[in-house]
Amino acid sequence: MNEIVSVEAVTRRFPLNHDRTKNLVSALSEASLHVEAGEFLAIAGPSGSGKTTLLNLIGCIDQPTSGRILIEGVDTSTLSPARMSVLRREKIGFVFQTFNLIPVFTAAENVEYPLLIQGIDSRVRRERVAQALEEVGLSARANHRPDLLSGGERQRVAVARAIVHRPALVLADEPTANLDTHNATQLIDLMHGLNRRLGLTFIFSTHDARLLEHTERIVRLCDGEIQSDTQVQSNTLNEGGIRGQVLASSLS
């Protein structure tokens, strides 16, 4: 299999005050992780464990204090901000906890946005947007603005926006945190279905038990350190299995 993401001994420290050299707090310590194409990987852990920091680093939104991250073999630490921007634009799709849709754009226009900034022809854009909205089951809501959509629908629009340009990697930061059980389950099924049907690589952070039920691999973070990296077999899908243990420990 192709390696999509390689996190190599990455540390990220943040300054606590204006003096950026003193009082550094470590959000991530010596984390290493390798993700193959087509994986559906969960980063689990309690609040403050470093999940979002790790996702931001993989998504090239932030840069590590030490260590390096490779996306499809490209060392992101060597890239200029402009090249990083291009890499994000072409290789990565983002799904945010609070949806982060552009409120004055319709669902279709929001989905179209990543194609727009890539300079793709309008005819191709229309086709891809229609396809992506169909994938997430929102073709009928294409011309609705976000404020006229439910929370679940908004997050599905965000998923469509993340996959419309066929990225190598989709990063989702707590995608179900603002959804009720019904919508969260629908979203998990949707993401898992996209992972299987389109072969898209998903990395998402969560402490949602419902989401962990569908993952094949769970990376557990605690206090900025990777505590465990577990491949879950389908025959362990039960309360007392590895998922239950990982979930129980991640929420503790």
């Binding site: 402009a82 890499l87 634009r89 072409e90 226009e109 990543p114 900034i117």
Partner: protein
């Protein structure tokens, strides 16, 4: 680009109340400048017409010598064959009339007391036909057909100084064109108040034949040309210049703007004030717009972050905000132009003239363009 323009347009109306307030601010500034500009334009127009109709005329003809040297004798730089010159000019297009004038000075006396005067001699019929009427405080204007006494108009200061009133007599003394001293008795028929004390203290006006008799000369100092419209001045001046070249004397043509020093000073002063006002209003509007744009930027940090995370180039984000500022500015300008014109239309239709027409005492012989 189309989508970004759409995004900018929709963003502008995201917070409608704030946008409307900003548009009112920008539009108010533009409308205010339009109205002030209109006020000043009307004031300049009024001052221009007032200056011209107070006796300056649209064009004046002199001999070239008049500007090259001082007179050795009275009227030795005057126009000799002025009747022919006047006839030539009168034949031109847009010429409404020509008024010959003599500028001279001398002494006047009431028998007890004497003083100096700065006199002008005019053809009352020609002056009246061009709308040049003296501002009479008492009495009447000169009558060219009067066969008896030589009539004179004097300034209010002269009347006070000489203790005379309409109906009283004065003696004028002046040096003739060949250097001799000459004198005539005149009857005061009117007292003029020009509005300028210095002028009223020396003002005297008599008819052209009377002055020519006093000065023993058939010449005139200049010819004042009145046109149908001030806007035609440049065109008529261009047409007249070649025809003046064929005259025995070298004649020069001066447009009203060349002679209206006061008008130019006032215009320069008010233009500076207008620019100053414009700069103040511009900065007020700018600060208001910048404030609105900064507020929208701070409110949309999450959105900007999302756009950057998705790989939007920073220049595009900057362009988006600039585009929003342009949309806001253009809409504000449209509101301002529409509002300014509407207010101007309503003021004009309500009969409210800014500045009031009574500010300009003389009768307008022309209408604004």
């Amino acid at each position: 680009m189309g989508k970004f323009l759409l995004l900018a347009f929709r963003n502008v109306f995201r917070n409608r109340r704030r946008t409307i307030m900003t548009l009112i601010m920008v539009g108010g500034g533009v409308a205010g400048l339009l109205l002030v500009g209109g006020f000043f334009a009307r004031m300049f127009w009024g001052l221009r017409e007032s200056t011209i109709n107070d006796g300056l005329g649209h064009i004046q003809i002199f001999t070239a010598e008049h500007f090259n040297r001082e007179e050795k004798h009275v009227l030795d730089t005057g126009i000799d064959n002025w009747r022919q010159v006047a006839a030539t000019i009168q034949a031109g297009r847009h010429v409404r009339g020509i008024a010959p004038r003599i500028e001279f000075n001398g002494m006047l006396s009431n028998g007890v007391k004497s003083g100096v005067f700065m006199g002008s001699a005019v053809d009352p019929v020609a002056e009246n036909s061009l709308g040049f009427t003296p501002r009479l405080e008492s009495g009447r204007d000169l009558d060219s057909k009067s066969g008896g006494e030589i009539e004179a108009l004097i300034g209010a200061g002269v009347a006070r100084s000489m203790n005379v009133k309409p109906g009283d007599g004065l003696t004028l003394l002046a040096v003739t064109s060949d250097g001799a001293l000459n004198g005539i008795d005149v009857q005061v028929v009117g007292v003029v108040n020009t509005g300028f004390k210095e002028m009223d203290d020396r003002y005297l006006r008599i008819t052209l034949p009377s002055a020519q008799r006093l000065l023993q000369s058939d010449r005139v100092t200049n010819l004042v040309v009145g046109l149908d419209r001030t806007e035609n001045t440049d065109m008529v001046a261009a047409e007249l210049t070649p025809s003046l070249r064929g005259q025995p004397q070298q004649l020069v043509l001066k447009k009203w703007i060349d002679l209206a020093a006061y008008y130019k000073q006032v215009r320069s002063l008010f233009s500076t004030i207008f620019v100053f006002l414009g700069v103040i209003v511009f900065f007020m509007v700018l600060m208001s717009s910048v404030n609105t744009l900064l507020m929208t930027m701070f409110e949309r940090t999450r959105e900007i972050g999302t756009m950057l995370a998705m790989g939007t180039p920073r220049a595009w984000i900057m362009s988006l905000f600039i585009l929003e500022a342009i949309v806001l500015g253009v809409l504000g300008a449209i509101v301002g132009v529409a509002g300014g014109n509407l207010i101007g239309f309503l003021l004009n239709h309500a009969g409210i003239h800014l500045p009031p027409q009574s500010l300009w005492p003389s009768t307008f012989s022309t209408s604004p363009a």
